[in-house]
């Protein structure tokens, strides 16, 4: 603790009565009162004497702050010690009381300073949203009251230097402060990984460096938001405890402001993403058939469930133009999400409709669509498509699949055939290399097409629903109506998921040849 000058603690007017009282005890004595450096107190100087003397120190809090010297001649000299001790202890008491009063006042002033700084800070950064702007406001508010020559705020991802969020001071000084602060911040974070902390440094040996630095990591309970560092040059006094305390308060307020700003940004981004997903969803919904065409001897049922985040399923069933009694069905899954996936899906659907009208071969239809998408649209998204063309009267089906999950043919006798992909996923290569599969779907048989949202549905424990479970369930539904097959599978998948959110779109399409 720094020594407080005695003359600032003791008012001569208050001291004089004590001195007079002491002199009354020792008439004719010489009394001198000096501060810690031996300089006599103004107004209490005494002339030098060669008489015997006694000295006692004046103490505050156990430390000497001055001295009493009492000198006297003759018979009275026997009482010198006692009088000096009495006077010294009286003065010590007075000085201690003054020191206590003084430190209370100083603390009150410090509190006031902190309050005014914080309220000014709250006012300036209250409305700011941009983190760099918040950092700039903070520095402008605190640099002068804290008598900092240089001040910087480092963003959370640049605590090892690199970029400053805001800086005040000469460019060279700023650069040097960043360099000096880096090891200090690393130590602060290592020492106390939880609390926002400040330290001040002693004067450094390096004359190029900053002799006095106060640094604080800006931390909330949630995360580190950055760091604030102030520096003083050689010609300024080093930072003291009060500065450290002020910076700590400023740091916690700044950290909260930065966290609020980053939350706000997150909400804005989140909303933008949600908007985009919602628009993508609307496009996607608009592509789904509202009702299926009626085809004598056949029935169609479907279910579709959208996942919140990803998914780009599409299904459709439509009569081919100028080809009476012929129906196309398709199930597709676009990789990706949002508007790009929805646009690709709209493209794919329109192209499939047009291409299917044009020719009788699904493989050729898929190849044409792939060529157009790859060469002209140049997509970097992929689409799996399973496409079948049904001749209603004969039950003959031509089928091709560009990388799509197996489509099942559920026979009326309970046997199950899996139609595996016959070509590559659309968008991957100029040539999907697809071929057609031809089969006959008799009365009572059903074609069941799904997307991977079914087989990759997950239980709360993380297990996949899987193809085996789907096949076993389908086998038990042989000969059942299309809507019953759809409802049973969807209900079983929901049971399996046991309330957990679907993580991908889920589509099931059943086209069934009615029993004769």
């Amino acid at each position: 603790m720094a020594t407080i000058a005695l003359d600032r603690l003791l008012d001569p007017d208050a001291v004089r009565p004590l001195v007079d009282a002491a002199r009354a005890l020792l008439p004719g004595s010489t009394i001198t009162i000096c501060d810690a450096d031996g300089a006599p107190l103004a107004g209490l100087e005494a002339s030098a004497t060669s008489a015997p003397s006694a000295r006692r120190s004046i103490e505050v809090g156990g430390g000497p702050v001055g001295q009493v010297e009492v000198a006297a001649d003759g018979a009275l000299a026997a009482n010198l010690d006692a009088v000096a001790a009495l006077l010294a202890s009286s003065l010590s008491l007075a000085a201690s009381e003054a020191a206590a009063r003084r430190s209370v006042t100083a603390a009150a002033l410090d509190d006031l300073r902190e309050l005014s700084l914080l309220s000014k800070l709250a006012e300036t950064i209250g409305a700011a949203v941009d983190p760099d702007r918040i950092a700039g406001c903070v520095l402008e508010t605190i640099a002068r009251p804290l008598r900092a020559d240089v001040a910087i705020v480092l963003p959370a991802d640049r605590l090892d230097g690199g970029r400053v969020a805001a800086a005040l001071g000469e460019p060279g000084d700023v650069e040097r402060l960043v360099r000096d602060a880096t090891p200090l911040l690393a130590r602060l974070r290592a020492e106390d990984p939880v609390q926002g902390t400040c330290v001040d440094l002693d004067r450094l040996a390096d004359p190029d460096g900053f002799p006095s630095i106060v640094a604080a990591v800006l931390r909330t309970t949630e995360a580190t938001q950055g760091a604030i560092v102030l520096g003083r040059r050689w010609d300024a006094p080093p930072f003291e405890d009060i500065d450290r305390r002020l910076v700590a308060s400023v740091a916690s307020e700044t950290a909260v402001a930065l966290e609020r700003a980053s939350l706000q940004r997150e909400i804005v981004n989140r909303r933008r993403l949600d908007d985009e997903l919602a628009i993508g969803r609307r496009i996607q919904r608009s592509l789904m058939p509202r009702r299926f065409p009626s085809l004598p001897g056949w029935e169609i049922a479907a279910a579709y469930e959208a996942a919140r985040e990803i998914g780009g399923d599409l299904y459709d069933a439509f009569l081919l133009r100028d080809q009476p009694g012929r129906l196309a069905f398709l199930v597709a899954d676009v990789t990706g999400k949002g508007i790009p996936a929805a646009i690709l899906m709209a493209d794919t659907r329109a192209l499939l409709h047009a291409a299917a009208d044009w020719g009788p071969d699904p493989a050729e239809t898929l190849a044409r669509v792939n060529r157009i998408l790859v060469e002209e649209r140049a997509v970097s998204l992929f689409v799996t498509v399973a496409l079948g063309l049904i001749d209603a009267a004969s039950g003959d089906v031509a089928f091709a699949s560009a990388g799509h999950d197996p489509v099942h043919v559920l026979r009326v006798d309970g046997s199950l055939t899996a139609l595996e992909p016959t070509g590559r996923i659309i968008g991957l290569a100029a040539d999907i290399g697809a071929h057609d599969v031809r089969l006959s779907v008799g009365p009572g048989d059903a074609i069941v097409a799904h997307t991977d949202g079914i087989t990759e549905a997950r239980s709360p424990q993380g297990a996949f629903y899987g193809e085996d479970r789907l096949r076993a369930l389908l086998a038990s539904l042989a000969g059942r109506p299309a809507t019953e097959i759809v409802d049973t599978v969807i209900a079983d998948v929901a049971d399996f998921r046991a309330g957990s959110e679907p993580n991908d779109d889920l589509t099931l399409l059943v086209v069934r040849h009615l029993p004769a």
């Binding site: 799996t384 590559r424 996923i425 991957l428």
Partner: protein
């Protein structure tokens, strides 16, 4: 999903994936490929041995790294459209493929086979064979 990158030879980087590769993390795989190539590798082996699941996003990741090994920049679907049509013929024509796949398990193999991707890039039974083939 964990991603580990190794550099067994000056030319070859091995990107080993463990866990589940899906829409939430496929971009990290592309980033790992970008970093490996920026560090000077010219061939990439993707070790799929520890993958327990690969969704269709995995195809985008593999395809994007293949483009990167050819010095082409895959553009995120979020950012726009991009030509990819010649990758297939390039892969088929090139006697010296720049991207190799290693050690896919049954479920990952199924995704590669169904999409037709296993016909476009060499698929090796284990990492050692893949690195040897990539070192050519």
């Amino acid at each position: 999903m964990d991603i580990t990158t190794e550099r067994p030879t000056a030319d070859v980087a091995v990107i080993a994936l463990a866990g589940e590769l899906d829409g939430s993390n496929f971009e990290n795989v592309i980033e790992a490929g970008r970093i490996a190539l920026a560090a000077g590798a010219s061939r990439v082996v993707i070790d799929l041995g520890e993958l327990t699941y690969m969704g269709s996003s995995g195809l985008v990741a593999i395809h994007s790294i293949a483009l990167l090994t050819r010095g082409r920049e895959p553009v995120s679907p979020e950012n726009g459209w991009q030509a990819i049509h010649d990758i297939g013929s390039e892969a088929a024509d090139a006697g010296d493929p720049t991207l190799h796949l290693a050690a896919p398990g049954p479920s990952v193999s199924r995704v590669l086979d169904r999409s037709g991707m296993s016909g476009l890039f060499p698929v090796h039974p284990d990492r050692g064979t893949a690195v040897a083939a990539a070192s050519g």
